[in-house]
């Protein structure tokens, strides 16, 4: 079984559209062995919009906790404000209270308060779902706006998907990753066998490709690249090819800019389903076939693989 994670570094390169297309192509090829699908971009979870997802279950996500000062016990000594490292203790008219957006839930104030006036309250930071789709079981989430702990929510849905992977006949977990390189990305890549980086032939795309590749070197993963909107700026595409060659990374394929993709998005379908003869669909199928060869080579053997 394999875990494949789709990343980009720069946002908007087409991870989600590609992940949806891959889900569709996998189901076409292996109708008996559906993949497990995960949307790890919990801040801006869009994959559900392309998968005709039907919710099977929903659960609360308790992200962390927020401190609360009991005004009846508080003697305004200000010790909490002294120790808080997150600027979360604010004083209004000499009364101290906690800014819930800034509060980290570390409880440093709680343990330092001489009056035991502070308590931690668990906060529901979002929800996560298991849904049925034509392409397999789908694990996704909605992090409430302005919340922390997106990395933790990603880890949670991946953990549940991993459990399902062990108990089902599915052979592939396909993870649509978030943009960037921080905690949610690290959570998304954790446990991956293969990472596909979707980039675009722009100066910003190349720069962020470098950053995400630097990040993936911290993991024992096989990294592949593909270029989306490749005809947007041919010199840019050439720069990416050159860069990947220097790094010894294969480019699995290039997808031209194609309005079939937003059209498919509008219809709530993967482009390979909506318009299989479009230029982008044909290019995506080529990338998919090469990707499957890589995936087969890197699936987790029954004996556990030791890391470097």
């Amino acid at each position: 079984m394999t875990q494949l994670v789709v990343l980009s570094g720069k946002g908007g390169t087409g991870k989600t559209n590609l992940s949806a297309a891959f889900s569709h192509l996998y189901q076409q090829k292996y109708p008996g062995h559906l993949a497990l699908l995960v949307d790890a971009d919990v801040d801006a979870a869009n994959l559900a919009l392309l998968l005709e997802a039907e919710e099977l279950s929903k659960e609360a996500f308790i992200g962390g906790a927020i401190a609360r000062i009991d005004p009846d016990l508080c003697t305004d000594c200000g010790r909490c404000q002294e120790v808080c490292r997150f600027d979360a203790v604010i004083s209004r008219e000499e009364k101290f209270c906690i800014d819930p957006i800034a509060c980290e839930g570390c409880a440093a104030c709680l343990y330092q308060c001489p009056e035991n006036a502070i308590a931690l309250q668990k906060q529901q930071a979002g929800e996560w779902y298991i849904s049925e789709t034509p392409y397999g079981k789908f694990f996704h989430a909605h992090l409430y706006p302005a919340q922390e702990n997106s990395g933790k929510l990603v880890a949670l849905i991946k953990s549940r998907a991993q459990e399902e992977l062990e108990n089902s006949s599915a052979d592939l977990m396909l993870v649509d990753g978030p943009p960037g390189i921080g905690c949610p990305v690290i959570s998304a890549v954790s446990g991956a066998n293969v990472v596909l980086v979707v980039t675009e032939p722009t100066l910003a795309g190349l720069h962020d490709l470098g950053r995400v590749l630097e990040t993936t070197t911290h993991f024992d993963v096989q990294v592949e690249v593909c270029i989306n909107k490749s005809d947007l700026y041919p010199e840019g595409a050439q720069q990416i090819r050159k860069y990947c060659q220097e790094k010894g990374i294969d480019i699995l394929g290039e997808i031209p800019f194609d309005l079939a993709i937003p059209r498919a998005m509008n219809q709530g379908q993967p482009v390979t389903k909506f318009d299989p003869q479009s230029q982008s669909s044909i290019a995506i199928k080529g990338i998919w076939e090469r990707l499957m060869t890589v995936v087969e080579k890197h699936s987790t053997e029954k004996e556990l693989i030791q890391v470097k």
Partner: protein, 291 residues
Amino acid sequence: MRRIAVASGKGGTGKTTVAVALAESLSQDSEQIVLISDCDVEAPNVHLYLDPDFEQSKAVHVLIPQVDEDICTGCGICSEVCQYNAIILLKDRAMVFPSLCHGCGSCTLNCPENAIREIPNQIGILERGIGNGNIYLRHGLLNPGEPLTVPVIAALRKWNDEFSARIEIIDSPPGASCPVVEAIRRVDFLLLVTEPTPFGLHDLKQAHQVANELGIRTGVIINRDGLGEADIQGYCLDNHIPVLMTIPLDRNIGAGLARGDTLLEIYPEYGDKFRALYEKVDQMLEEAVGP
């Protein structure tokens, strides 16, 4: 100091394009200093367009506890107070797991034997300089492999400037969670850049809710108009958000940005458009402050 942040929810809608265009437009026109703060510390791109000379840099650290095993008595208080299981008791000694540590200092404060010291661990760097068009630029870079984005953004926003800019434009990261909150809190106005696709609309709603949580006035810019049919205008109308500008889908813009040209370098007339946008925002803010 007037602060305007640019965010989106969805990645790739054109935040950086807009932030740079606004900074250029305002810098062209006035004698006042315009500062652009690129808070997308995981993947900053503003400097690629403005080509600054970075004259100054500053390291960003988080504090990680270190336990003196000779003094540690294995009382376990550190492990009780730690909310993240980042310090635990094993074989009667405390052991620290830096990757789980949030640097809150609680274990250090509560150790009855004073056995814990805090050691700075560098997680990123801040840089600043002056770029094209005399625009002052500063940004942060999270070290690849480090998970904590927010402390780098927080350090960037707190970095004191010797030059006193009158206008600050903040380029926010994508998403709608804590890094975005840290980037855009305590600004005067938020520009939300979206695209008329189902993803654009879906994520605009998330971003708009963040603005509401933070109590920041918002306006929308629709970029790549023509890319899809999502009813951004309808959503904005229903939620009383002004649509301040629409930028059409235009291959020239895409190709120009790909090269590293700014929007104003591709179409100079956007200078006037963004100055007019700023006037409008200014007016809205004046009205809000009024009686």
